[in-house]
C-alpha cells in the first residue's frame, strides 16, 4: 500500500457541487484532492437544463461557458407545464434563456477550472473521523489508498457513499425514486423545442418530462423505485402520440438512476457529522421541477467557504457549515413552500402570472389537476411536514435546523 497522502481537504465526487467547493478551497490556498470513481470526463444522466442562477454562478466562478459543455440546442427558454385536462402553461425563465449543459463536459470543465487536484478512477470506500483529522480510504485499480485530511466534503450525489459511511441506515429511511430517460429520433414533434416540458399527470408517473437534445427527443419518467421503466416509458410515449401528436422512432439509447426526491420538501437535509460535510444533492438539495444543479453549485460553494471560515476562525467546521448553509436551505425549501408559491416568487419563472393569464375555466382545471397530481404523493405523508415547515418559516427567519441530520 502507498504511504498515506496528507492533504487539507478531500472532496468525494467530481460533480458541479464538488467543483464549487474545490474552487473556494483552492482560492484560499488549501491543498484539495477530488476523488472520482469513474474516468474523467465521465457520463452523467441529467436533463442538463440549468437555472439562470446556476448559469450566473458558473460564469462568476469558472468563466463563460465553452461550446463543448453545451448540448444542442445550447439553451432553453423556459418550462411548459401540461395538465391532463389538456391545458398547457408556458413560462419563460426570468432574465432570458438558460444553458442546456452537457454534464459530461461541463462537470469536467468546472472541476478543471477550480484548480483542484483530481484523482479519477478512484472509489471512495470509507472514512474514519479522528476528531482533528479524517482518514479516507479509497481504491484505484484494485490498490488500497489512504488520505489524511482535515476535512472531507461528500459531494457524491443522491446515493452518496459518504452518507452511507456516516449513516448506514439513512438510505432505508427515505423513499427512493427512479428516473430514466430514453432518446428517440423524431418523426414529428409539435412540442416547442425551446422549452422543457413537464406533465402533472398522475397516470404517467411522479415525474414526467420531455425536451429536445442533439436532434433527438428525450422522454423521461420518474416513479417510485420498484416499478418497471420500460412499461412506464411506453405508456408515456403512447400518451404523447395520442394527446400531443408526438411521433417518435423507437429509442436509440436509455439511462436511469436513483433519486432522493424529498428532503428539500420537508426540510430534512443531511449535512454530515464532525469533520465530514455533505453537500449538493447528496445533502438533499433539489429545486422544484427537479433542477438540482444550481443548488448543488451554491451549497457546494458554501461547504468550501465553511471549511475556510472554520479554519480561519478556529471554529468547529460542522457548526460553521450549518450556520452558513441556512440561506441556501431557505431559498431551496421556499420553492416547495405553498405560502411562498402563492404570495411570492420563489422560482425563476412566474407560475402565478402564467396561471392568471389563463381564462377562469382553465385556471380551475389547472388547480384541480394539480391537486389530483399531489394526491399521488399522499403515501409519503409529506403534507403535514410541508405545512409545518411553511408555518415555522412564517414565524422565523428560516426553517428549523433541528430537522436536519
Amino acid at each position: 500500500m502507498r504511504p498515506m497522502r496528507k492533504v487539507d481537504v478531500v472532496i468525494v465526487g467530481a460533480s458541479l457541487s464538488a467543483a464549487a467547493a474545490a474552487k473556494r478551497l483552492v482560492d484560499a490556498g488549501l491543498e484539495t484532492v477530488v476523488l472520482e470513481r469513474k474516468a474523467l470526463p465521465r457520463h452523467k444522466i441529467c436533463s442538463g437544463i440549468l437555472s439562470p442562477r446556476g448559469h450566473r454562478f458558473l460564469i462568476e466562478n469558472f468563466g463563460p461557458l465553452p461550446r463543448e459543455v453545451l448540448h444542442e440546442p445550447t439553451w432553453c427558454r423556459g418550462v411548459t407545464f401540461h395538465f391532463p385536462s389538456m391545458v398547457s402553461m408556458k413560462m419563460d425563465f426570468f432574465g432570458g434563456t438558460t444553458p442546456h449543459l452537457h454534464r459530461k463536459f461541463s462537470d469536467y470543465w468546472a472541476i478543471q477550472r477550480s484548480g483542484a487536484e483530481v484523482h479519477d478512477q478512484t472509489s471512495f470506500t470509507g472514512l474514519e473521523d479522528n476528531g482533528d483529522h479524517v482518514v479516507v480510504s479509497a481504491r484505484r485499480d484494485g490498490e488500497e489508498l489512504k488520505y489524511r485530511a482535515r476535512q472531507v466534503i461528500g459531494a457524491d450525489g443522491p446515493s452518496s457513499p459518504v452518507i452511507r459511511a456516516l449513516y448506514p441506515d439513512y438510505p432505508k429511511q427515505i423513499p427512493w425514486f427512479f428516473v430514466g430517460q430514453k432518446f428517440h429520433n423524431i418523426i414529428e414533434c409539435p412540442l416547442d423545442h425551446e422549452y422543457f416540458h413537464f406533465w402533472f399527470h398522475p397516470d404517467l408517473g411522479h415525474y414526467t418530462w420531455s425536451h429536445a437534445r442533439d436532434g433527438q427527443q428525450i422522454v423521461g419518467v420518474g416513479f417510485k423505485r420498484g416499478d418497471n421503466f420500460d412499461a412506464r416509458h411506453g405508456n408515456v410515449v403512447r400518451y404523447f402520440e395520442d394527446k400531443h401528436g408526438v411521433k417518435l422512432d423507437p429509442h436509440t439509447t436509455h439511462e436511469g438512476c436513483a433519486e432522493n426526491f424529498g428532503p428539500s420538501l420537508v426540510n430534512r437535509y443531511v449535512f454530515g457529522r464532525g469533520n465530514v460535510l455533505v453537500t449538493g444533492q447528496a445533502a438533499g438539495f433539489l429545486n422544484m421541477i427537479g433542477e438540482g444543479m444550481s443548488c448543488a453549485l451554491h451549497s457546494g460553494a458554501i461547504s468550501g467557504e465553511a471549511v475556510v471560515e472554520a479554519r480561519l476562525r478556529n471554529r468547529p467546521v460542522q457548526e460553521t457549515y450549518r450556520r452558513m448553509i441556512a440561506s441556501e436551505v431557505r431559498r431551496t425549501t421556499d420553492q416547495w413552500n405553498p405560502l411562498k408559491i402563492a404570495f411570492e416568487r420563489p422560482h425563476e419563472a412566474d407560475f402565478p402570472a402564467a396561471l392568471m393569464r389563463l381564462p377562469w375555466r382553465e385556471r380551475r382545471l389547472v388547480v384541480r389537476d394539480l391537486w389530483r397530481f399531489m394526491l399521488l404523493y399522499k403515501e409519503f405523508k409529506w403534507g403535514r411536514e410541508i405545512l409545518r415547515a411553511a408555518a415555522s418559516r412564517l414565524l422565523g427567519d428560516g426553517y428549523p435546523t433541528t430537522r436536519w441530520i
Binding site: 488549501l30 450566473r56 440561506s327
Partner: protein, 518 residues
C-alpha cells in the same frame, strides 16, 4: 476535452444564447487562483535581489481576506514594502516571470480587490513615514502606505490637518488616492484623490516616476482614481490646511427625500463646512452639519437654520413614539432603534474627543463608531454615485432594495465637489460622467452583525443595487473585484477597451492588481 487557458484581460465568449442572463455581463468575477508556475525560481530571484519574501502559511493567512470578509485568497508569498527601489525590483522581476502582484494598504476593500489570488501580496504599510512638511506652502510629502490617521497625528503636532480622508483609522493614503476617498467635508473640499499635488509611482514595469498635473500628466491622470492598475503609489505630496476642531449639529428627519434635499441645499449654498447623512434604516435620518469656525456657524444659524426642515432629537423621538404606537406590530424595530440610540449617540459625544460642544478628532470618533456599530465579520457596502439631479431617486430605490433584503441597515450620503481641471482623472471612476460641479454618493450598508450570510445572497443584493445604477446611468465606488461585471455595463465597451489598451501598454504581463477591473 481541451480546457482553454484564459489570458488576463480577455473575456472569452459564452456560448449560451445571446438573450441568456439579460443585463448580466458574462465575465468571471471570482478569479481563478494563479497556478504558481515558476514560483520557487521567482522567489529565489527576489531573495537574491535582497527582497524578503514571507512564505509561512500562518503569516500569509493573515492576508486571506479583506474588510468585506467574503472573498478569500491566499498569496504564494508576502512582500512588505520598504522603498520605491525595492518595489521597482519586485515589479520588474514579476513582469519578467509573469507573477501577479496585488498591492494592499489597509485592506479595507469589500469585493476582494486587495486579496491576492495567488502570487505576491505587496503590503504597502511598510512604507509609512512622513517625509517633509511645508508649513508655508501647506503641503506634506509622505510615503503612501501610511494610514491617514497616522498622517494626521504627525500633522497636528504642527497644528495642520489633511483636507479630506475616509473616516476610517486604517485606510491608507495610497489606496485612497487610487479609488477616491470621501469625507464629510468632500462637498466642499472634494474627494481625497483630488488633494494630491504630485506622486511618486512605481510603474508595473518597475520604473520610478514622479508625476503631477504638469510632470508626466498622463500617468498622473491614470494613477489617480486608477484602481491600482497603472502603478504602485509609493510617495505622495498632498495639500494640507490649518487644523480646526468641529462644531457639530445634528438634524433629524423621518423622510429621506427631505433630508437629501436639505443636504443639497446646504451644499449648493456653501452653508456649512461639513455635511452628510447617516440613517437608521429609513426611519431616522440624521443630517450632520459642522463648521470650522464660530463665524461660519453663526452665519449658518442666521441664514440657513430656519430653512432646514429637520427636527431636534426630542421632537423626532416624539414623532417616532407616535408612529410606533399606531404600528404596534413593529415593536421590534422600535426597540432596535431605541437601543441603537442609547448605545450609539454617546459614542459621538465622548469626553475624550469632545469639549465644550467641539469635536477634536472626527476620524477617531467616526472610525470607532463605524467599526463598533456597523462593522462585522462580513461587510458589503454597495453604493451609487450620481449627479445631483439623479441622487434622490437613486437613494430611494436603493433604500427599497435594502428593505427587501435586510431588517437593519444604514445609509451614508455625502456630496463630492468635483474639479473641472481633473475631468481626465474621472474617466472610469466613481465620478459619474454627467455630474457637474458636485456628485453625490450613497452607501447602502446592511448591518449583518454576527450572522453569516451566503455570498450568493449578498451578491444578489449588490447586483440589485447596481442594476439601479445601470438603469439610471450613475457610477459606483466599489466596482472592482466581485462587482467588476458592472464595469463594462456602466462605462461601455469603448471606454473600457481604451483603458484596457493603456493597461496592456503599461503592464504587458498584466501582473499588477490583476482581476480587479479588467
Amino acid at each position: 476535452m481541451d480546457i482553454p487557458v484564459i489570458e488576463p484581460g480577455v473575456i472569452p465568449p459564452d456560448h449560451v444564447a445571446p438573450d441568456a442572463l439579460q443585463g448580466i455581463r458574462r465575465q468571471q468575477t471570482n478569479p481563478k487562483r494563479w497556478d504558481g508556475a515558476g514560483w520557487t525560481e521567482f522567489a529565489e530571484v527576489l531573495r537574491s535581489a535582497g527582497i524578503e519574501v514571507v512564505e509561512q502559511p500562518s503569516l500569509r493567512g493573515t492576508f486571506a481576506t479583506d474588510a468585506g470578509g467574503t472573498a478569500y485568497g491566499m498569496p504564494h508569498g508576502v512582500v512588505i514594502a520598504r522603498s520605491a527601489v525595492q518595489v521597482a525590483d519586485l515589479l520588474r522581476a514579476a513582469q519578467a516571470h509573469r507573477v501577479p502582484v496585488t498591492a494592499r494598504g489597509g485592506g479595507l476593500t469589500t469585493e476582494g480587490e486587495s486579496v491576492a489570488f495567488g502570487g505576491v501580496l505587496l503590503d504597502m504599510t511598510g512604507m509609512s513615514r512622513v517625509l517633509a512638511i511645508d508649513r508655508e506652502g501647506l503641503t506634506v510629502r509622505t510615503e503612501a502606505g501610511i494610514f491617514w490617521h497616522s498622517l494626521a497625528e504627525v500633522l497636528r503636532r504642527q497644528n495642520l490637518d489633511y483636507l479630506s480622508a475616509p473616516l476610517n483609522l486604517t485606510s491608507s493614503v495610497g489606496g485612497t488616492l487610487g479609488v477616491g476617498g470621501i469625507d464629510v467635508n468632500s462637498a466642499r473640499l472634494g474627494c481625497s484623490a483630488d488633494q494630491a499635488i504630485s506622486l511618486q509611482v512605481v510603474t508595473p514595469t518597475g520604473e520610478i516616476v514622479e508625476c503631477s498635473d504638469t510632470q508626466n500628466p498622463e500617468l498622473f491622470q491614470r494613477v489617480i482614481l486608477g484602481y491600482g492598475q497603472f502603478g504602485v503609489i509609493t510617495e505622495a505630496t498632498l495639500k494640507v490646511r490649518p487644523y480646526t476642531p468641529l462644531r457639530l449639529h445634528y438634524f433629524y428627519y423621518t423622510s429621506l427625500r427631505t433630508a437629501i434635499e436639505d443636504l443639497q441645499l446646504l451644499d449648493r449654498n456653501d452653508a456649512s463646512d461639513y455635511s452628510g447623512i447617516l440613517t437608521m434604516m429609513d426611519k431616522v435620518v440624521n443630517l450632520l452639519v459642522a463648521f470650522d469656525s464660530d463665524a461660519r456657524e453663526a452665519a449658518f444659524m442666521t441664514a440657513w437654520r430656519a430653512r432646514l426642515r429637520g427636527h431636534g432629537e426630542a421632537a423626532v423621538a416624539l414623532r417616532m413614539a407616535a408612529y410606533y404606537a399606531l404600528h404596534p406590530w413593529r415593536l421590534g424595530e422600535a426597540l432596535f432603534l431605541y437601543e441603537r440610540r442609547r448605545k450609539l449617540f454617546p459614542e459621538f459625544r465622548r469626553a475624550e474627543y469632545t469639549r465644550g460642544g467641539v469635536m477634536f478628532d472626527r476620524t477617531v470618533v467616526f472610525s470607532r463608531a463605524v467599526w463598533k456599530f456597523w462593522g462585522g465579520r462580513q461587510m458589503v457596502i454597495p453604493d451609487l454615485a450620481a449627479s445631483e439631479e439623479k441622487f434622490v431617486e437613486a437613494v430611494l430605490r436603493g433604500n427599497a432594495v435594502c428593505r427587501k433584503y435586510f431588517r437593519h441597515y444604514t445609509l451614508y450620503c455625502v456630496g463630492i465637489k468635483l474639479r473641472e481641471d481633473h475631468r481626465a482623472h474621472y474617466e472610469l471612476s466613481c465620478v459619474p460622467p454627467d455630474a457637474r460641479e458636485r456628485a453625490y454618493g450613497c452607501e447602502f450598508e446592511p448591518m449583518i452583525g454576527d450572522q453569516v450570510i451566503a455570498r450568493d445572497r449578498l451578491q444578489s443584493f449588490k447586483n440589485e443595487i447596481y442594476d439601479i445604477g445601470v438603469e439610471l446611468g450613475t457610477s459606483y465606488y466599489r466596482f472592482g473585484g466581485m462587482m467588476k461585471g458592472y464595469v463594462r455595463r456602466v462605462f461601455g465597451d469603448a471606454l473600457v477597451d481604451k483603458h484596457l489598451a493603456h493597461k496592456r501598454r503599461a503592464d504587458p504581463a498584466m501582473i499588477l492588481n490583476r482581476d480587479v477591473i479588467f
